[in-house]
């Protein structure tokens, strides 16, 4: 402690520091640290939220490892993550490169591309459900027309009612909805790349592609890292669009995700303890994936 902390100024800062932080500190205990400890504890109990909790040791964890539906939900979630994150990141970068230009009206395009981000998943998932409709949907109509143009007769696809297409259809909607967010972040990064770097590369005779590969990508790699990590974390938590577009993991549990499974156990089957076990598994999973990213970044992020 410096001399400062015993001075009148030190006392003043101490008093106000604690006062101003009080709500936030209390919130950390009430809504984060406390609950995470409780969740960890509850994962060892069986509890229906009506009768007193019963200690069951590792039974929940044993059940988790042998619960086929949990593994199914885990596989579906991983499928969603793998299907949506790389596509979303690459397309968002492409979009950022396209809107990174000084052209009249470019601001309007950026705003339009960002619009799906701000609207609720519930509302857009509803429209997309309608677009995907197997009998009256717009998508099948468009595909049918394209088929006619090239002389093919394409049968209507039951997008959300076929276990093979349901998850890909949800992924496509999610990528569409989230593109604008990462685009804006990439755009800011692109505009921060020093102009001199491009000029130097041009003098060395690098073409546009080589400039992108050797100048742009290394320069934006820290932001790329941020985007990949936040997208991964977000994708593991997918719920809203599945709830609207494929209630209860329909068809045949092909769209059941981890958070949806947690929700079902906690609030429909009233298995609070088991739901907490699923929650801890989710925490471990996200923590592990984030940790792996942190290690891997040393290989590709230029900071």
């Amino acid at each position: 402690m410096s001399v400062r902390s015993y001075s009148p100024l030190g006392r003043l800062e101490r008093k106000w520091g604690w006062l101003l932080c009080a709500p936030f500190a209390l919130g950390l205990v009430l809504f984060s640290l406390g609950p995470i400890t409780t969740a960890l504890g509850l994962a060892f109990y069986q509890w229906d939220n009506l009768t007193p909790p019963r200690f069951v040791g590792l039974a929940n964890w044993h059940q988790l490892f042998h619960d086929e539906l949990f593994w199914k939900a885990l596989r579906n979630t991983l499928f969603y993550v793998v299907g949506s994150v790389p596509t979303g990141v690459i397309l968002a970068l492409g979009l950022a490169l396209i809107v990174n230009a000084r052209l009249p009206g470019i601001g309007l395009f950026r705003t339009v591309y960002f619009t799906p981000v701000v609207t609720s998943t519930v509302a857009v998932a509803l429209v997309w459900t309608w677009v995907y409709d197997s009998n009256y949907g717009l998508l099948n109509y468009v595909i049918e027309q394209i088929g006619k143009l090239v002389g093919l007769k394409i049968k209507p696809i039951a997008w959300l009612n076929d276990p093979r297409t349901a998850m890909p259809a949800i992924i496509a909607m999610s990528v569409w909805k989230g593109l604008g967010y990462n685009m804006i972040i990439f755009l800011a990064a692109l505009q921060n790349v020093p102009r001199e770097l491009y000029e130097a590369a041009a003098i060395d005779g690098a073409n546009r592609f080589r400039q992108f590969w050797h100048v742009t990508l290394p320069s934006i790699s820290p932001v790329m890292f941020f985007v990949v990590v936040t997208s991964l974390i977000g994708a593991f938590q997918v719920f809203d669009q599945v709830y609207i577009m494929a209630r209860d993991g329909r068809p045949a549990n092909s769209t059941l995700t981890l958070v949806y499974y947690l929700y079902n156990h906690a609030f429909r089957y009233l298995n609070m303890g088991y739901a907490c076990t699923i929650g801890m598994a989710l925490f471990v999973l996200i923590g592990a994936v984030t940790g792996i990213q942190l290690v891997l970044q040393k290989k590709w992020v230029h900071a």
Partner: protein, 281 residues
């Protein structure tokens, strides 16, 4: 000759770029157009194949039916109330904590900041059940309190975001104001907050959107139809009238218009603010 060729090349490049921009814009906007046009169609027209783009006749009755079937005005007012309280709560509690963490010297500061960063990694679904039980125990289930009270206790991301912004405001300003006899709280409210307007706007709009669009929280806590905000009401509508697409689209339109208005009004500051938070990460 040579100049006209490069001139031509430049024009072709610009036209190609605009064409690409327009096609993507169409892909982004089309679902919304489809939502709006469907909301004005009759049931018969909505289920017509091949689909029609523009309704034969504007059918306002989908909106009238919506208002009659569900307490939409109630939902709307609930959303406004919950969202406003969330924005006020987050801005107030987070700017206080962020300012203290950025400028004041007090024991426990480092620990508090570290704890805030750690909680950023915890998915909120993991803490969902204990928090739910706590609110249920104090009798707040089926009330609006669980949907806005936590906002007044701040959040790790918002505190982190504002702290970074406050650190960018010269320290001299703080010290000069202390000499002038202002208390730290006075400095926060009279000097730092006015200077942090872009960051506060961004955070405010972020909070607005997240709160307005939140589905899971109201789904868990609210049982009474009249207490639901719009998103939960909309998902309820889907459960009840799953084949009345014109009416459901009317509901979707009603639920997104307020967010779109706020977004278009603030998009300049907002879009720039997201850009800065991205760089910081």
């Amino acid at each position: 000759m040579k100049t006209s060729m490069t001139w031509n090349k430049k024009w072709t490049a610009a036209i190609v770029r605009y064409a690409v921009l327009l096609i993507i814009a169409l892909l982004m906007v089309f679902p919304f157009l489809w939502m709006v046009t469907t909301s004005f169609k009759s049931m018969e027209e909505a289920f017509r194949y091949p689909p029609s783009l523009i309704p034969d006749k504007i059918h306002w009755e989908n909106y009238r039916k919506l208002l009659a079937a569900l307490p939409i005005t109630r939902f709307f007012l609930n959303s406004v109330k919950i969202t406003t309280l969330n924005v006020v709560g987050v801005l107030l509690s987070c700017s206080m904590a962020a300012f203290a963490l950025a400028r004041l010297n007090f024991p426990g500061r480092t620990l508090l900041f570290a704890a805030a960063l750690i909680t950023l990694m915890v998915p909120w679904q993991t803490t969902l059940i204990p928090v739910f039980i706590m609110f249920q125990k104090i009798g707040w289930k089926d009330s609006h309190y669980p949907l806005w009270v936590p906002a007044f206790f701040g959040g790790g991301f918002a505190v982190f975001f504002l702290r970074q912004f406050f650190l960018g405001i010269p320290r001299d300003l703080y010290e000069a104001a202390l000499v002038d006899g202002l208390s730290p709280a006075g400095i926060l409210f009279r000097i730092y907050l006015p200077l942090a307007k872009p960051a506060l706007t961004t955070l405010g709009v972020f909070t607005f959107i997240a709160s307005w669009n939140d589905l899971l929280t109201p789904l868990i806590y609210i049982d009474t139809l009249e207490k639901m905000p719009l998103t939960a009401g909309l998902s309820f509508l889907q459960g009840q009238y799953s084949s009345d697409w014109p009416m459901m689209m009317a509901g979707a339109v009603v639920s997104i218009v307020p967010v779109l208005l706020i977004f278009f009004a603030s998009q300049r500051v907002f879009v720039e603010g997201i850009a800065t938070s991205g760089i910081k990460g």
